[in-house]
Amino acid sequence: MIPKGIDDKYEVIRILQETAATAVLLVNYKKVGALRILKAIHKADSNANSILSEAHLLQGFKSSQIPTLYEVEETDEFFYLVEEFVEGISLREYLQKNKLERNQLLHISIELCKIVECLHTAGSEPVIYRDMKPEHVYLAGDDIKLIDFGIAILKSNAKNAKAMGTKGWAAPEQLKGEALDEGCDIYGLGKVIEFMQMNSYGKDDFRIKQIVEYATKENPKDRFSAVEEMRASLESLQGARVNDKIGKKHLERKIAVIGGGPSVGTTRIAMSLCRFFNRKKIDCYYRDIEKDTVLKLWKNLKNAKLRKGVLYHDSFQGILEYGETVEHYKAPDGLYIYDCGSSKEIPLGTDIILYVVGGAPWQQVDEYPAWITDENVYVINNFSDRVTAITLAREIKKKVYRYPTVQDSEFSWNEEKVFSAIFKNKKDLFIGQQQ
């Protein structure tokens, strides 16, 4: 279906998409000889207004990463809009032939976040894009562009939006036709980054994976609260120092201590690591994501002091997780040790992982996490002998640090030796911390 009445201005070069009532055409604008995209819809079509709403939405944005809208017209039978022809190749096409470097992946992800951020914040009210997928991301040299705003919607209209979007890319709440907010675009971004990671050399990078994981949580409330936050997480991976309001400060570093199973000594190691850094004059805080260890320490340790949400005892500093009816205390800046127990969920923004494997036969791990090969993952073998540690190192093809046997709750010199060996090449990570 090629709309009548456009011939005097436009010459049809190619039909890109066509149905009985709609058409997307590549046209030549005769007056200046420039290629443009013409989208037309029959006035009788039930979605005829969608083209006007797309035009209305695009009109409000001045971004080189979003197609420019040239005109909106109507003939006797059709509404049509003419917009910039975006040259380049879609992300899907590109990834069919190429693999991304980690830096490329981060660059594209950050640029995409910026575009969506612009949609969410630039106009008088947020625009929800709703159609994030590799086909709509265009690579034109170093530029990244987002096309097709056919189902984009103003946030005020998103409460009663119809179920629309592409299965596999759209957020669950979007496909169910529930009320929408910016969270559905965060989900879409997460899916696109996941797709890029699968087609990249950074396939097992746990830091990218965890960003994807947070962005694509089933419940929108569990996702990043804003695209800015997601962008800040990506930028921190790029090594950029972000100093905006919500960005990760360069002094806030996270080390996650993750157990290969229960009872492998994760808590002991995480607490000792916290003591190790504090003794080295690096301000370090212990945080427990699974249990209530710091609360128990407060109840049971002699001479433990509580101040502004932090428990102080000897060289240990632990964060108490209060509920909402306790006065709010801002978490102090510093290095954070996350005791993850045997949880497989890595805290967002983790820089280094210490993976703890028990040495006893019943503590052996059947399947190691894919991220174990990452250079920022260190493997500790606890409750083990020399032979077990060597066998483990051969099995995972990676250096294994054997944790010493500890006699009491005091931090021992042997533990210090293990941590010193692990972090001897990580001085850059803590620059700015040491006094």
Binding site: L295, K299, L306, L320, G323, T325, V326, D408
Partner: protein, 199 residues
Amino acid sequence: MVNNNKNNKKTKRKQICVVGVSPKSGVTHICLSLANFIHSVLRQKVIYIEHRADSSLLGVVGENQVKIGELSGYKYKGVNYVLTNDVSTIYKLMSQTNCWIIIDMSKLTKETKTIFNNCNRRIVIGSLRPWCERDYYRFIDKNIEQREINQVKFYNINKQKNKNHFKQIYGQNLYEIPYIEDPFSLKEEEFDGLIDMLQ
């Protein structure tokens, strides 16, 4: 392994009933503080029961209605609230739920006394100012059996002056009520006083 445990902050799950010697003794204020402390600091499940004919908390906590077992209640800042004047409902909750229960009791009557006596932490709050002293003593004589007096914790809402006199009469300690500025925004310096009340 060296055990350095000399700290006295251990708490066992309890059913706590707080009653005032006279109206406006600050029972609700202290009950709210305890319930919020249990939820937000000890991170444990807690049900707050307000036993009163005319609820004073409905306007504060009544926005979000929830089911607590078979009963209707409210959830506010993590604490479940049951606002009832029905003694059998309180019994039911006490026998069927396995969590902390704080009972904010308006007064002790023949009916409510059995609830009070069934709680494993019983707290009486009142003033021992000279012109209130007699009410406090009368309340004890009328409501607390001599054989159970050692299972009740007595609190004075004013600065301690006559605790020795109290001990001489009843053989029990008289404690000073901790000062809590805002039960919905607890401060760390208030924790010790609340822990003492729970132990």
